[in-house]
Each structure stands twice: as C-alpha cells, then as structure tokens.
C-alpha cells in the first residue's frame, strides 16, 4: 500500500500526534468554538511552511482584516507584512456583507476561485488557509450554491496538490455548524477551550485521519509567547529503554541504601511524607548534585518561590544560586490553583523539551493532584512520567502523604522508587524516619533510618543514634 505523504504542520507536538504531520496535498478541517485557537493554528501552519519547509502559502481570511491578523501574531514573532513583502505569503481578505447584496438570477462563486488562483500564482503557493468557511454560509444568500461551490472548491484545491487548512465553527449537532466535514474527508482536528472550576484548559483531538494512524485522545495544548504547543505525548506503550546507569541522590547515606549507587537514570522517584519531614531538602540535594556533575536540572516548585527555596536550602548548607547563575538549574514556580492541571503539565513538558534537563524535581506533586479528579490526574501523570522516562530524565516527585492514604498509593504504583519519610514522637522529640518502600531493579535496604537535617544538609543515621543527634 502506498504511504500517505505528510507535511509538517509547523505546530510543536502535532506532527508527533499525527505520525508525521497533515496529509500533503489535501485539505484538513480544523474546527472549534470562538477563541479556541483555530486562526492561530492555521497561521502557524502557513508561516512555518513558508519559513522552514520552503512552501509559500496563501491566507484567505473571511473574518479578520489583514492588518488585524498581522497584529494578532506579531507577539509570536511572526511578521506577516514582511513575509508578504518577501513573496512567501499572500493574503486576501474576502469581505461579505449580505445586507449590501441583491440577488438577481443565477450565479456561482468563480470570483473566489479567481482570487485564490491569483494569490497562489503570486507566491507559487503550496499551502492554503481558508479562515473561516462559515462566513461563506453567512454571507451568500443561496446556501445551495455555497454547497455546490464548496464541493467544486475542494476538488479544485486537491487537483492542484495544495495542502489546505479550512477552519470552521463547532456545531451543536454535527462536528461543525454548517456540516463542512462532509467536504473534507481526509483529516479533521477539533480544538476545544473549556473552563472548569475557573481554570481553563485547551484541548486538541484528531477526530479523523484517513489512511493514517493517529493518537485519538484529547491532548492539552498551550497558547503562549511561543505560539501553539501540543503536549508532546509520546509512546503509548512501555517502550522505554531501562538504563543500568545510576544517578546519585545527593545524599551519600541515602545512596548507601540504594546499593550504594543511587537511583537508576531515567527512573521516577516518589518521595512521600507528612508536612515538615524534609522532602524538599532531599529534593534540593538531588538538584544540587546533578548541577555539580554538570547536568541540568528543572525544578518545578508549586509551594515555595525560588527565593524562599534558596533561602531555606541555604540554611542547611545547600547553595543553589550559583547553579541558577550558571544556567544549570532552572526554577519554575507557579501557584497550582492558577490554572487547570493540564496547562500545568503542558508547561512542564514544554520546559522539558526546551531546557532538556538531565534531572527534574516536582515539589510537591500533591499540589497538582489537588486540582483535578483522581482519575484525570493519574492519566495525566502517567503521560508526564512516561514522557520523562522516554527522554531519559531522572525525576523526583515529592508528595504530601501518609502511609494509609489510598489515593496517593495509587500514584506510587507508577513510580520506580518510593521513599517515605515520617515523623515519630520519641519522648519530647520529633524523630524523622526514612525508609525505602520500593525501588525496582535493585536490592535496596529495607531498613528504617533516622533522618537528620543539619546545617550541612540531610544525613541518614542508624535509628538508634542518640536523639541529640546533630
């Protein structure tokens, strides 16, 4: 069977989702409600094609005026006027005012074909965007003519081998309000923008892709200063290569409990415990140790600001600032309630692909778990952990949890290692005790150790060690 030819969509993450991009030489329908990012997706497709793939494009706008389109994407670094000047993009605003049109006899929409052909010829276009097709239905009084002309238009575009994005409004009954999906049978992408409990989430789904496999889930996507990024969700199976390489935890006495070598490279570690048990300190050791080795560390902090963290860790002898200055340590502090779970995870994945860290810290994971439902968060976490493993990032997740907390235990099942710290009262003192509950693929210590937080960091000692300790 002949392989379907594909063209890069120019959108980060979307090509992976579609196993290579949009169907080349064919139309793709992008639909969604107002403000869901249809025009931005279409514009990105055109600009990236022109800049990266040597495929000039034509933008036919039925809605926004050309200067407005340019202004909307200027903040993303897209210079549409310049691209037009350089002959890489041609733009045409088709303005339809139904009230100013009188119908007197039979007609067709040959004018649209003439304008398209003219614009295509001007830049020798390989890509076309029609945004949005609904305006044709609103602007032309005779719907029967619109429908027959659309059929002719799509045949015309295919004949010329143009890769096309058509945008359309989401409908209550069909996929689109005007049934545009009837004309575009090759690839249909639905965008969605939902606000649930005051946090907004954008999602993308490939509803249909004739002749190609594609991910069928809803994938979160982001719109930020870099444009659109679809969550780069990879491997749907368990295809990661299990490394035998080891990564030091940053606490020598903890490494000792892990065959004296530390974690497996690319593995995921859950560090659970009640409040004030020193989870963040262990995480900071891990981050610092990575930077000392010259590796990069992405530190996602959902409870403390970077300056708080730096101060607190300074008090136990971990100086993180030099590594930030060297560019080896990058902090991302955000309030978990600021947005939905998916945008958070999307941002994290984006940072991981931009920064390419060797290790990552999420402190605490429980802050994210609090946002969504258990089912939803588990699904998303699986994807996050899956992705981190695939790209070989060793990741440490702290989590506020107790031993008997069932929901947290469910999360632990997807982690390679699970370490717990607990507070025990011993006389008048509170004693921190650490033990390794599990660590896949190694003969880890089953002992419970006493954990001391000293001015020179975390130390694990024998449980029987004097309570005066440090």
């Amino acid at each position: 069977m002949q392989q379907l030819k594909k063209t890069s969509s120019g959108i980060k993450g979307l090509d992976e989702l579609t196993c290579g991009g949009l169907p080349a030489g064919r139309p793709t329908l992008v639909c969604g409600g107002p403000g869901c990012g249809k025009t931005l997706l279409a514009t990105t497709f055109l600009v990236m094609g022109a800049l990266n793939d040597n495929e000039p494009g034509v933008f036919v706008s039925f809605d926004e005026r050309i200067p407005d389109l340019g202004a909307n994407v200027a903040s993303l670094g897209f210079d549409l006027p310049d691209l037009q000047k350089r002959g890489l993009i041609a733009m045409d605003h088709v303005f339809l005012d139904r009230r100013a049109i009188e119908e007197a006899g039979d007609y067709d929409l040959e004018g649209l074909f003439v304008r398209l052909a003219y614009a295509i010829k001007k830049v020798d276009a390989r890509r076309v965007v029609l945004d949005s097709i609904d305006s044709l239905f609103a602007g032309i009084p005779n719907i029967a003519i619109v429908r027959s002309e659309l059929t002719r238009l799509f045949a015309w575009l295919k004949e010329r081998g143009l890769t096309v994005i058509i945008t359309a409004e989401r409908g209550d009954n069909g996929i689109t309000r005007n049934g545009v999906e009837e004309y575009v049978s090759d690839c249909v992408i639905v965008l969605d923008h939902r606000v649930v409990e005051q946090s907004s989430t954008r999602r993308l789904r490939v509803v249909k892709y004739r002749g190609s496999t594609h991910g069928t889930n809803e994938y979160p996507f982001l719109i930020d200063q870099d444009g659109i990024t679809v969550l780069p969700v990879t491997s749907l199976g368990l295809a990661q290569i299990a490394s035998t390489e080891r990564v030091a935890s940053g606490v020598a006495s903890l490494d000792a409990m892990l065959e004296g070598k530390g974690y497996f490279k690319g593995s995921s570690i859950l560090l659970g415990g009640a409040a004030g048990t020193g989870k963040t300190s262990i995480a900071a050791h891990f981050a610092e140790a990575a930077c000392r080795r010259g590796e990069r560390c992405a530190f996602f902090s959902f409870e403390e600001s970077p300056s708080q963290l730096a101060r607190n860790m300074g008090s136990i002898g971990i100086d993180l600032q030099p590594w930030v200055d060297k560019g080896l340590l990058r902090f991302h502090a955000a309030r978990p309630s600021l947005q939905g779970l998916e945008p958070h995870l999307a941002l994290m994945l984006k940072e991981i692909s931009d920064f390419q860290p060797d290790v990552a810290v999420v402190d605490p994971l429980s802050a994210l778990l609090a946002i969504g439902s258990l089912h939803q968060t588990q699904g998303m976490l699986l994807r996050l952990i899956d992705h981190l493993k695939t790209v070989g990032v060793t990741s440490l997740f702290t989590s506020l949890q107790n031993h008997d907390d069932q929901s947290r235990i469910a999360i632990s099942s997807i982690m390679d290692s699970w370490i717990m710290v607990e507070n025990r009262r011993a006389g008048n003192d509170l004693v921190r005790r650490l033990h390794v509950i599990k660590s896949r693929g190694m003969a880890h210590s089953a002992e419970m150790r006493r954990m001391l937080i000293t001015r020179s960091g975390v130390q694990l000692v024998d449980l029987q060690t004097g309570l005066e300790g440090a």
Binding site: E102, E103, A104, G105, D106, Y107, V114, A117, Y118
Partner: protein, 100 residues
Amino acid sequence: MDPVIAEEHWNLRLYVAGQTDKSIRAIRNLNRICAEHLNGHYTIEVIDLMDRPQLAEGDQILAIPTLVRRLPEPIKRIIGDLSNEERVLIGLDIRPLTKA
C-alpha cells in the same frame, strides 16, 4: 420622462469570468435593462476577471456575475445573471419608466 434620472449618470461595472452562459446572459440582460430604463445616461464597463484577476480583490468580488453600481452613490452590488429584472431595478434603485 423622469427628470431625476435625466440629470444622473450611471456608472456600472459588470464583473464576469470568461465567456460562460451566465456571463453572456448577464451582459445581454444588463444592456437591455439599461436601454429601457436609463435613457442613455449610463456607461457599462465589463470586466473579465480571467484577463484581469487582480481587480477582483479591490471590488470584493466573490459571486460571478456581479454588477457594481459605482455611480450614483452609494455603491450597490447585485449578484446573478440579472435575469430577474425586478430585482435588478430594486438593487440599482431605478423606478421603472413603464410604470408611472
């Protein structure tokens, strides 16, 4: 004769695309309607977009044929082969001479 029409000059532009049946009908219908109702105070310019595609964008032509009344102002546009004379007269804002 209607004195108002006598004073006005009608500047009409008909957009077609090639020598199609619809185009030919539109040209024929327009000539006839003008001859009947505008008493010589008119100019008709036929633009074939197959020859001059660059003109389609400026006048926002989508439907073919499209008749644009450039003068008298305001600009009006009528789409179709102009076979419905009544709609053409309404669209152009012409009171039929035959009825008084």
